[in-house]
């Protein structure tokens, strides 16, 4: 049962082969046994989860079961929850009790899902290895000496280790797809604006987007049906008719045009990653898909653009943490300004401070045009490259990450080395495009490799169909991590 997909759990619950209380208890027990080794969860409250499970069982008995009724789901600790504290991986919010639920949390509540716990993450979602969390690093279930990726590393590790059947995450520059790739699970970053950001603690508002992590593409579709939808409380939420993200799972692969950007297959990509990705593409070709080269010549500029825009927006968003209305406040201070300065010095970790300082610099008088405006122009060039590519192909494929999981502390000394790990996941959010990552094999070290599928705006259903067809023919997504046997 612990290894089931959401689709299987739905069937088991509907057939009364298991109750939500039993299912929730099963996952809570596994968390109790494994979380000490992985540190994937920051907050778990058995009473809250079991009370919700009981309510889901009662609703089912009355015939009122929602689409995810009784299924425990873990949430990245960036989504505000009334019932559990919301830390965002920061000392600043260590004891923050949100007075409201995020839109995404409300949607899962309406669907009948059980809140299983809050997952660890890089502080304020700033990181690619989960090492910037105030609550300590998350470890990779395939090898505890390695990072799980970030910033949704806790969610990815929880899903990979079968502590949770599915989880939510957020992606600003790769924070869903990169940890999904490094832990061997599936993750989708939707088109910007599909999932409401209401109650999702802001990092870089023009890029941030919530999305699901799960163990199959079909499960991602189910989760998207719950998460996506217009919300007036997020002014960037898109108003469009609701869609069924599972409608194209049986997509025919024959005739599908796969765009392959040379920039994603060049130097810097590990041979083991290239091999798996190429084999996956060969499978699609064997099924009648047609591959064609596409050009994304500005790919190399995506990381520098991102490290202007994201810190600029972060420095503005994080100015709200001033020790007055919520969050940490320093104990000793001389005056108001000193209170702000000490509060923020104590409440934020080193990476968050660095990004705030970079953001402050690129927005400061005399540098705005040279950095911020320049970055916004290059961002347009990157988006144009994609627009041209999608005139010729249905989806773009390549590696999610140039490497498999790397050791803890391997990249903490040089921030630029850490940033460059996101070279293939940063372009899509800059353009606002959707991207997903699914497992496509293992390298010589036995570590999972992620295949990235990028699509045009609102092409999620098609991308999920592409992924689902691949998963009908392969079992990479069903492999269980070596450190966390069933």
């Amino acid at each position: 049962m612990i290894d089931s997909t959401l689709v299987e759990l739905q069937a088991a619950l509907a057939a009364k082969r298991v109750s939500s209380v039993e299912l929730t208890r099963l996952h809570l027990e596994r968390i109790g046994r494994l979380n000490g080794r992985l540190n994937a969860f920051v907050t778990v409250d058995e009473e809250t989860s079991l009370a919700q499970a009981l309510r889901a069982d009662e609703q089912r008995a009355r015939g009122e079961a929602g689409p995810l009724a009784g299924i425990p789901i873990a949430h990245k600790d960036i989504f505000c929850t009334r019932e559990l504290r919301t830390t965002c991986g920061s000392r600043m919010l260590e004891h923050y009790a949100s007075p409201y639920d995020a839109h995404v949390i409300e949607q899962f509540g309406r669907a009948g899902a059980v809140l299983l716990g809050k997952t660890n993450m890089d502080e304020f979602a700033m990181g690619s290895s989960n090492e910037t969390s105030y609550f300590g690093p998350v470890r990779n279930p395939w090898d505890r000496r390695l990072v799980p990726g970030g910033s949704s590393g806790g969610s990815a590790a929880a899903v990979a280790s079968r502590m949770a059947p599915a989880a939510t995450g957020t992606d600003t520059g790769g924070s869903i797809r990169q940890p999904a790739a490094l832990t061997g699970v599936c993750g989708l970053k939707p088109t910007y604006g599909l999932v409401s950001r209401y109650g999702m603690i802001a990092f870089a508002s023009s890029l941030d987007q919530g999305g699901p992590l799960a163990r199959s593409a079909a499960d991602l579709a189910l989760l998207m049906n719950v998460m996506a939808g217009h919300d007036r409380r997020d002014s960037t939420s898109i108003e469009r008719p609701r869609e069924n993200y599972a409608r194209a799972l049986n997509l025919p692969i024959k005739g599908l045009r796969l765009g392959l950007p040379a920039e994603y297959f060049g130097a810097g990509v590990e041979p083991g990653v290239l091999k798996c990705v190429r084999e996956a593409i060969a499978w699609f070709e064997s099924q009648g898909a047609r591959t064609l080269p596409v050009e994304l010549p500005n790919t190399g500029l995506a990381v520098p653009v991102y490290y202007v825009i994201a810190p600029a927006e972060a420095s503005s968003n994080l100015s709200r943490f001033d020790g007055v209305r919520y969050g940490h406040r320093a104990k000793d201070y001389a005056d108001l300004t000193d209170m702000y300065c000490r509060t923020r010095a104590e409440g934020f970790g080193a990476e968050v401070k660095r990004r705030i300082l970079i953001g402050t610099y690129v927005l400061s008088h005399g540098y705005y045009d040279a950095y911020y405006l320049k970055a916004q122009k290059v961002r347009r060039l990157i988006a144009k490259d994609f627009a041209e590519a999608f005139q010729r192909c249905d989806v773009i494929m390549g590696p999610t990450s140039p490497t498999t999981a790397f050791p803890l502390e391997a990249k903490t000394e040089d921030p630029v080395q850490m940033y460059l790990n996101d070279i293939f996941t940063i372009p899509a959010p800059l353009a606002g495009l959707p991207g997903l990552s699914i497992p496509c094999g293992f390298d010589a070290k036995g570590l999972p490799v992620g295949l990235q599928v990028m699509g045009n705006y609102f092409a999620e259903a098609k991308m999920l169909g592409v992924a689902h067809q691949y998963q009908r023919a392969t079992d990479w997504h069903r492999r269980v991590p070596t450190e966390t046997p069933l």
Binding site: A97, P99, G193, S206, L207, R232, S235, T236, I238, G300, L301, V303, P304, V305, Y307, V308, S315, S319, D322, G323, V324, R325, Y326, G327, H328, R329, D335, L336, T337, M339, C341, R342, R344, A345, K353, R354, I356, L357, I358, T360, Y361, A370, Y371, L373, K374, A375, Q376, K377, V378, R379, R380, L381, A383, D414, P415, V416, Y419, A431, G432, Y457
Partner: protein
């Protein structure tokens, strides 16, 4: 372009983050690496390119200017570090 210790301290003041002398050197080293990365943008020809501030070209929606929220002051202030009589307390700013 690389930042001096003085510039780091000035940025930290602007950002309201206290940093010590030793910390300042570490910040300088790491921030300058990041600046080296983003300086690559200067070489790109962006003549005639419109800046892209948002992922999608959408119009900012407007709503009627009407009260929709109920009064939850007590609940909100339960999260505050210091409150008194419904007010948020900060250190004295006027003598």
């Amino acid at each position: 372009m690389s930042l001096s210790d003085d510039q780091i301290r000035r940025l930290a003041r602007l950002a309201r983050i206290a940093i010590g002398e030793e910390e300042s050197a570490t910040f300088r080293d790491r921030l300058n690496r990041v600046l080296g990365l983003i300086d690559q943008l200067q070489a790109v020809d962006t003549t005639g390119i419109e800046p892209m501030s948002h992922a999608l070209d959408v119009v900012q929606p407007l709503r009627p200017d009407a009260v929709t929220e109920s009064d939850q002051r007590a609940r909100f202030q339960a999260d505050a570090p210091a409150v008194e009589d419904g007010l948020y307390l900060v250190p004295k700013v006027i003598e």
